[in-house]
């Protein structure tokens, strides 16, 4: 290492590599769409079996009023589930970290909640809870465990010597938590968030599907089921596209947030000269 703080120097080769990482997937996507349209046209596949991308896009525009409303419903559920999962996961991890007894008593149940497939729990929740609350509960159940598990790992990964140093200087429990354990756990927590974002969308979709079999709902997953029953396959595809895009946007937002939070100090985000 040299004695100077380094300036990130990005070589031409690195830049070319970065460009490729963006351009290649886009090229693959474009090729796939073209091939899809060609197959649909040349084979004369009817739209109620497989609509071409052009038709899907037209449907997306034509039904935008309906679909955007559903998108908002699903996104709001996802966001609520995500926020509750983050708050609940971190709070529970901190609680477990502060008390062995509480951890031993309740951690197994967190695991049980996690390993039981949410598809199987959803119908039960729909019986017990009003529909919106049930959907939210599903989003929460699938999303909170990665936050809990990652935060627990992070809180236990504190450097022993740093912990001794805090003890030497007479730090209180609260100071150790706020100024040592939580900052040390931050990279792990952010890793948990990245997983939880996608999972809360999945949880919301699964619950909406379960709810839609009872004929209730208004989210994107409900639209997909409804379009299926009505054989409105282009709309089904349009809703599907919106769901994927929502998932991708959620992932990149969280990845970006994590990068911003860590870029000054953490190995994973600090730019280094190769």
């Amino acid at each position: 290492m040299n004695g100077e703080p380094f300036a990130p120097a990005v070589s031409a080769r690195d830049r070319a590599e970065a460009a490729l990482r963006v351009l290649l997937p886009i090229a693959v996507l474009a090729l796939g769409i073209i091939a899809w349209e060609l197959v649909v046209r040349l084979q004369g596949i009817p739209p109620y079996v497989l609509p071409g991308p052009v038709l899907v896009f037209q449907t997306l525009l034509a039904d935008w009023g309906l679909l955007s409303g559903s998108l908002m419903v699903t996104l709001i559920t996802t966001l609520q589930g995500f926020v509750l999962a983050v708050v609940g996961g971190v709070a529970l991890a901190v609680l477990f970290n502060q008390s062995r007894l509480i951890e031993y008593s309740f951690y197994p149940y967190a695991v049980i909640l996690q390993v039981t497939p949410v598809v199987a729990i959803a119908p039960l929740l729909l019986i017990w809870l009003p529909q919106e609350a049930a959907v939210l509960a599903c989003a929460w159940i699938v999303a909170f465990f990665p936050v809990l598990a990652n935060t627990t790992l992070g809180l236990n990964s504190v450097d022993h010597n740093l912990a001794d140093l805090f003890r030497l200087y007479g730090a209180s429990r609260l100071q150790v938590l706020m100024r040592l354990k939580l900052p040390a756990a931050l990279p792990y927590i952010l890793g948990g968030l990245k997983i939880a974002g996608g999972l809360s969308l999945i949880g919301a979709v699964v619950a909406e599907m379960a709810a839609s079999s009872a004929g209730a709902g208004s989210g994107l997953a409900y639209r997909i089921m409804e379009s299926g029953y009505r054989l409105n396959i282009p709309r089904m595809f349009a809703a599907l596209v919106l769901l994927s895009v929502a998932g991708i946007v959620i992932y990149f937002l969280l990845a970006w947030f994590s990068h911003v939070m860590l870029r000054r100090w953490h190995e994973s985000a600090v730019m280094r000269e190769a």
Binding site: M1, N2, G3, P5, F6, D159, N161, L162, D164, L165, F166, R167, L168, Y169, G170, A171, Q175, R179, L180, P183, A184, L186, R264, W265, H266, E267, V270
Partner: protein, 265 residues
């Protein structure tokens, strides 16, 4: 050990008497270990790795309790003034998420002494270790030697009466180590605080200390104590002198004896 008996209560900074430390794993790291330091003394603990040097430091710092015997640091522990001890680990042990200044400020801010004089003292500590321009840098932006300086600044910021250093320079290259050795001696001569310096380097211990405690390993005991009466300031001339070479030879022989004794036992 004769030294330990000659100490009277008033001028003792550190006193380990008959300290035995057995871990839960059954490992006895220290066995009837005696150590006594006068205020302002610079003493090195020298021994092969695994002989209990770090354990001795942690006992002195009160980070662990002896299984038997007594470990007290008179004038330091009573009143709970734990900031009276500065500890420097082998690794820099900095908070990577905090700037250099925030790392150095830690001991003061944990004790809620935030205020006007805190900033001054942080700046002074950084100045002492030659890092005044780096207050707002993050640890990952610094070289190994600079991180170690931050760690030393953090230990000095409370102006501790007792400085405990656990192989602080072992991971550094020779040039940086020599430089930091000189800086450390300069700091010690400016304010005569008591220093316990752990090392496994004969050369480093002779260069720095007034007295060297040579330890045997498994279990860790005091094998012998050697006085290094070369005058301070010590500098490169001392490092290349015949006196220095002779002292190193003596200490080196003692260390070899200590190791052989342990192996034969």
């Amino acid at each position: 050990m004769a030294v330990a008996q000659s100490q009277t209560g008033g001028d003792v900074a550190v006193s380990l008497k008959g300290v035995t430390k057995t871990f839960a794993t059954g490992v006895t790291a220290l066995d009837r270990f005696d150590l006594a330091l006068k205020p302002g003394e610079f003493v090195s603990l020298l021994g092969p790795s695994g002989c209990g040097k770090s354990t001795a430091l942690r006992l002195i710092a009160g980070l662990m309790e002896p299984t038997r015997g007594s470990a007290i640091s008179p004038g330091i522990r009573p009143g709970g003034a734990r900031g009276q001890i500065g500890f420097v680990f082998q690794e820099p042990t900095l908070m990577p998420w905090a700037t250099v200044a925030a790392n150095v400020r830690l001991p003061l801010s944990l004790r809620r002494r935030d205020g006007v004089d805190v900033d001054t003292r942080v700046a002074a500590a950084l100045d002492q270790v030659g890092l005044d321009g780096f207050a707002h840098a993050y640890p990952c932006e610094l070289s190994g030697g600079m991180k170690m300086r931050v760690s030393i600044a953090r230990a000095l910021v409370t102006e501790p009466a007792l400085l405990l250093m656990d192989e602080p320079f072992a991971a550094l290259d020779e040039v940086t180590r020599f430089k930091l050795n000189d800086d450390l001696l300069g700091l010690w001569r400016a304010v005569k605080r008591t220093v316990v310096f752990v090392t496994h380097s004969v050369f480093e211990s002779v260069y720095l200390s007034e007295r060297i405690v040579v330890m045997t390993s498994r279990p860790g005991r005091v094998f012998t104590e050697l006085k290094i009466d070369a005058p301070y300031p010590r500098d490169d001339r001392f490092r290349t002198s015949a006196d220095y070479a002779a002292l190193c030879r003596r200490v080196s022989d003692a260390l070899a004896d200590a190791t052989a004794r342990a192996g034969g036992a």
